[in-house]
């Protein structure tokens, strides 16, 4: 039996539950908490979800999720994700296509989200990032954070600002450099560097051919053999720890890692603007088919309204350094001096400015979780690890 086919059992179960939900009506469903499967950085306003619940007016049952793409696919398509979760988050530009094509997420009605009007223009029809939340032209997800990943460096120890990926591979940081232990971001960032510096001919750093992957990996193997990398970090805690303890001085990592490690170590760890380009990505929320059947759409839209409000946008920027997905953040910050003191305002403004600088670079490339030649990526990455 092909596991991709719905079995008769599951079909009857679905129809049965749909009938049951229709019979009880949406009122009953609205009082149930929304079963949310997402990463920890999706919440702001405190150490737990209570602030988010208060602001959105719904109750949330949170389930921890790792940032790995494959886990989502496995759970939703092969496992019982639809029964377990009403809403989930993952990377835009790849995951929503994969999940929508398998029929496990629902099409969205954005007229139910008042704050959709404020969303960044790039997500509207015809915008540059419009594809990242749509499948076959229909909106299937709502973005809540995005960024252009760059290099974090320890300014206190180095004493200068770094503006090129060259630094990551430079002799002066031999044994003090780190990259992410994941072939997606690491190979893409390296490819961006190699392409823009002219060292290798690469057409699309986000979706490389087998030969291009080989070239990039051989460069990395070479660097690794010379002892350039202290380690490949895996996980937020690791990333922060490496920078905060001065174990590494330059690290290709996410912005929240830079934010947290700077705070922890009381050193000036900065996030640079690389002249070759950055890996851009976003993360978005989807409503599962199971969640739709259980009548959780209303709760979902309420939560999405919160995620597209400047309340969330300002806070995710201040706490983690992620890019807000709506307009009007600066005005919101001005209008709420009690929540944001002068320092916070300066930080927010500074980060926004840096993001504009990064996004303006021509060489930026989108994070692709399902490259065409994914097996080549995996095989060559295994070789990099073994070297």
């Amino acid at each position: 039996m092909n596991q991709m086919e719905f079995s008769r059992r599951q079909m009857m179960a679905l129809m049965g539950s749909a009938a049951a939900v229709a019979a009880t009506g949406p009122a009953a469903a609205a009082s149930e908490p929304l079963k949310l499967w997402t990463i920890g950085v999706a919440k702001v306003g405190g150490k737990d979800w209570s602030a988010m619940e208060a602001q959105s007016g719904i109750s949330i049952a949170y389930n921890a999720k790792s940032a790995r793409a494959d886990e989502a696919i496995q759970k939703m398509v092969v496992g019982d994700g639809n029964a377990l979760y009403d809403a989930m988050s993952d990377n835009g530009g790849g995951m929503e296509d994969a999940l929508a094509s398998q029929g496990v997420i629902a099409e969205l009605d954005v007229s139910q989200i008042p704050n959709w009007a404020n969303i960044l223009p790039t997500y509207q029809d015809g915008g540059a990032a419009a594809d990242t939340i749509r499948y076959e032209g229909k909106i299937v997800s709502v973005p809540y954070i995005s960024n252009a990943d760059s290099l974090a460096y320890n300014n206190t120890v180095i004493g200068a600002d770094l503006t090129s990926w060259e630094a990551l591979f430079d002799e002066q940081f031999r044994g003090r450099a780190a990259m992410q232990n994941d072939f997606g971001p690491t190979l893409t960032n390296t490819a961006i560097y190699l392409k823009e510096s002219g060292k290798q001919d690469i057409e699309n750093p986000s979706d490389m051919s087998a030969a291009e992957v080989k070239g990039v990996c051989q460069f990395l193997i070479d660097m690794k053999k010379k002892g350039q990398f202290r380690t490949f970090w895996d996980g937020f805690q690791n990333g922060v720890d490496l920078l905060a303890s001065e174990e590494v001085l330059v690290s290709s990592c996410w912005e929240p890692i830079q934010v947290v490690s700077a705070k922890k170590s009381a050193q000036d760890i900065r996030y640079g603007t690389m002249k070759e380009g950055h890996q851009t990505w976003n993360n978005m929320f989807m409503l599962t088919k199971g969640g739709e059947e259980r009548g959780q759409a209303e709760n979902f839209y309420k939560l999405m309204n919160l995620y597209l409000s400047p309340w969330f946008g300002a806070r995710t920027l201040a706490t983690f350094g992620f890019t807000p997905q709506m307009q009007g953040v600066n005005e919101y910050v001005e209008a709420h001096p009690d929540d944001f003191d002068a320092d916070a305002k300066a930080t927010i403004a500074g980060r926004l400015a840096n993001k504009q600088a990064r996004l303006a670079i021509k060489g930026n490339s989108w994070q692709n979780v399902f490259p065409t030649n994914i097996r080549d990526y995996q095989d060559w990455w295994a070789r990099v690890q073994a070297a």
Binding site: M12, G40, V41, N63, G235, Q237, A244
Partner: protein
């Protein structure tokens, strides 16, 4: 000690033993140290606070995970320890001991990730098979039996802990004199009464140790549980998820230290209690043997 024993050798070896134990315990102590720091792990500044211990009980995620972990630990112990006792008794009378030992102890030798991977695929296939059989028999009652969830995590943990429980129980049984069971049977007792009234009280310390050991193992197990559980979170999976995605929250360290305090208290009190008891018994014995003072 005998004529050849060197008192200094004895002391040195004790010191070495304690040194090793301290080194092994140092991560535990370090985590406790961190749990009192306001700024968390790896921070440059250390500010003492009891704040995080208070947060433990209000952190819904943590409490939820702890609840799941505790229930898993309890149900696992309820199955594993009786299984271990049954298997130990069977082993004593079995003819081909090798196979029994092999079957019961082999989980020890299978690495965690491999174990989890194999069982994961097995349960998925078993589930598909049962659904297919259910379709054929027109019933849906078996559909959810082996879906990844509590049951599968439970089964995985039972298999993981049985070898340990088996060894502990078997060793305790080794000190039990089988002639007592024979005598009890000769006096007319049924097999069950011979076990429950005669044998069990004597192997009770071993059984209790096996229970404690099993609970501890379940609590700290990560790899197999994470692969086999379904949608819920356990204590260790929350820790790892936090470590990977947002950094371990400060209350996680407090929670781990709290669990460690409890466990150290438990083991420490067992050690102390047996120490005091043997001292007391020794004193009684000496008193009996001492000549009456006139």
């Amino acid at each position: 000690m005998n004529d050849y024993a060197n008192p200094w050798g004895y002391r040195l070896q004790w010191m070495y033993l304690l040194l090793v134990v301290t080194t092994l315990m140092s991560p535990v102590f370090y985590v406790m140290y961190v749990s009192f720091n306001e700024n968390g792990f790896g921070a440059a500044e250390y500010v003492f606070t009891l704040e995080w211990y208070g947060v433990i009980f209000t952190d819904k995620l943590m409490m939820n995970a702890l609840g799941w972990t505790l229930s898993l630990a309890v149900v696992t112990t309820v199955v594993t320890v009786p299984f271990a006792v049954l298997a130990a008794k069977f082993y004593k009378t079995a003819r081909s001991k090798v196979w029994v030992v092999f079957l019961l102890l082999s989980p020890l030798f299978v690495a965690a990730d491999i174990f989890g991977a194999a069982l994961l695929v097995y349960f998925k296939n078993l589930n598909h098979t049962l659904v297919w059989v259910g379709d054929w028999m027109d019933t849906g009652v078996m559909d959810g039996w082996f879906k990844l969830g509590f049951t599968t995590a439970w089964i995985g943990l039972i298999i993981y802990t049985i070898p340990y429980a088996f060894i502990v129980v078997l060793i305790t049984m080794g000190r039990y004199k089988v002639q007592q069971t024979e005598a009890a049977r000769a006096c007319g007792a049924t097999a069950w009464r011979a076990f429950w009234d005669i044998e069990f009280p004597q192997i009770r310390p071993g059984v209790m140790s096996a229970c404690a050991f099993t609970v501890i193992l379940c609590f700290n197990e990560y790899t197999r549980t994470s692969l086999l559980k379904g949608g819920f979170d356990t204590f260790t999976t929350v820790l790892v998820s936090q470590m990977l995605n947002e950094g371990m929250s400060e209350q996680s360290y407090a929670m781990s230290s709290f669990v460690s305090f409890l466990a150290i208290a438990a083991i420490g009190s067992i050690i102390l209690w047996t120490l005091v008891r043997s001292e007391k018994l020794g004193a009684e014995a000496r008193a009996k043997a001492a000549p009456v003072a006139s």
